[in-house]
């Protein structure tokens, strides 16, 4: 059985009043990558997950949730 990944990036982004474009710029990726991350369709590297969490002033396990 696969593990499903959900993210709370959208929620945290709204909390910090950040657009997808702005967040993408902060972590050095494309806007499309942020869209995929928000939809849980892209499994990021640990480094990217760390950068996203740091940009949203939170921790990795707070924004990336795994359902077994």
């Amino acid at each position: 059985m696969g593990i499903r990944m959900k993210t709370r990036i959208k929620e945290y982004r709204a909390k910090h009043n950040l657009t997808q474009e702005k967040l993408a710029e902060m972590v050095g990726v494309r806007r499309e990558t942020i869209i995929f991350l928000e939809q849980g369709k892209y499994n990021p590297s640990l480094k990217l997950a760390h950068n996203v969490a740091r940009a949203l002033k939170t921790t990795i396990d707070e924004i990336f949730i795994f359902d077994e």
């Binding site: 990726v29 494309r30 990558t33």
Partner: protein, 213 residues
């Protein structure tokens, strides 16, 4: 700076080779080459036109591009091998047929490559249903290409072998004149290939110009 120099080198080389190919009347190959050069340099060209900084090539884009290049090369290797076959064993003597088929295969290859290279931009706008359709069309294109190659081979092999086994007038005796089954499958495959190519192109353009869901 490095990218701009590389783009310039690719553009000049592609232009020179394209002029040589056009002078040799190899129009389809020239079109494929120019399109290929545009695909390789599309990001730099687009940024030059809009005077905007290039979007970064992040880890996801790198993953997609390497997959795309690998799959694209496999497709082109297959298409080229197939296109060379009629010339080497003289199965098809009319050059027009070869040119039409060549154009169809090259456009198929282009759709395949473009879909993968721009996949990350088209996917967010397609949604799950659209994505499923795009995958189906790409699969139809790929499968029909394989079916066409196999049918052409079997059509000719059966035609020849039956003459060897049952006599030169075998096909006239049974009243068909030629091997009909695989000939029909090959024709159907061409239609399916065209449907696959056009369908995936339509879905791809739709995804590219829709807002992300």
């Amino acid at each position: 700076m490095k990218t701009k120099r590389l783009l310039l080198a690719v553009a000049i080389t592609a232009l020179v080779v394209a002029v040589i190919l056009i002078s040799l009347e190899a129009y389809y190959v020239a079109i494929a080459l120019i399109t290929g050069a545009l695909i390789i340099g599309h990001r730099e060209l687009w940024s030059l036109i809009r005077r905007k900084r290039l979007p970064p090539i992040d880890e996801r884009v790198r993953e997609n591009t390497s997959k795309a290049i690998r799959n694209g090369f496999i497709f082109f290797a297959l298409a080229t091998a197939f296109l060379m076959l009629p010339f080497s064993v003289r199965l098809i003597e009319t050059p027009d047929t070869v040119h039409v088929l060549g154009g169809l295969f090259l456009s198929g290859g282009m759709v395949y490559l473009v879909s993968y290279l721009f996949y990350d931009r088209a996917e967010p706008g397609l949604g799950e249903k659209g994505l499923k359709m795009l995958k189906i069309f790409l699969m139809v294109a790929g499968i029909s290409l394989g079916a066409f190659i196999i049918s052409v081979f079997l059509h000719n092999a059966i035609y020849g072998l039956f003459i060897v086994w049952f006599g030169e007038d075998f096909w006239d005796r049974i009243g068909v004149g030629d091997e009909p089954v695989f000939f029909f499958i090959a024709l159907l495959s061409i239609v399916a290939l065209a449907v696959g190519i056009i369908g995936s192109l339509v879905m791809f353009i739709k995804g590219l110009f829709s807002k992300p869901l």
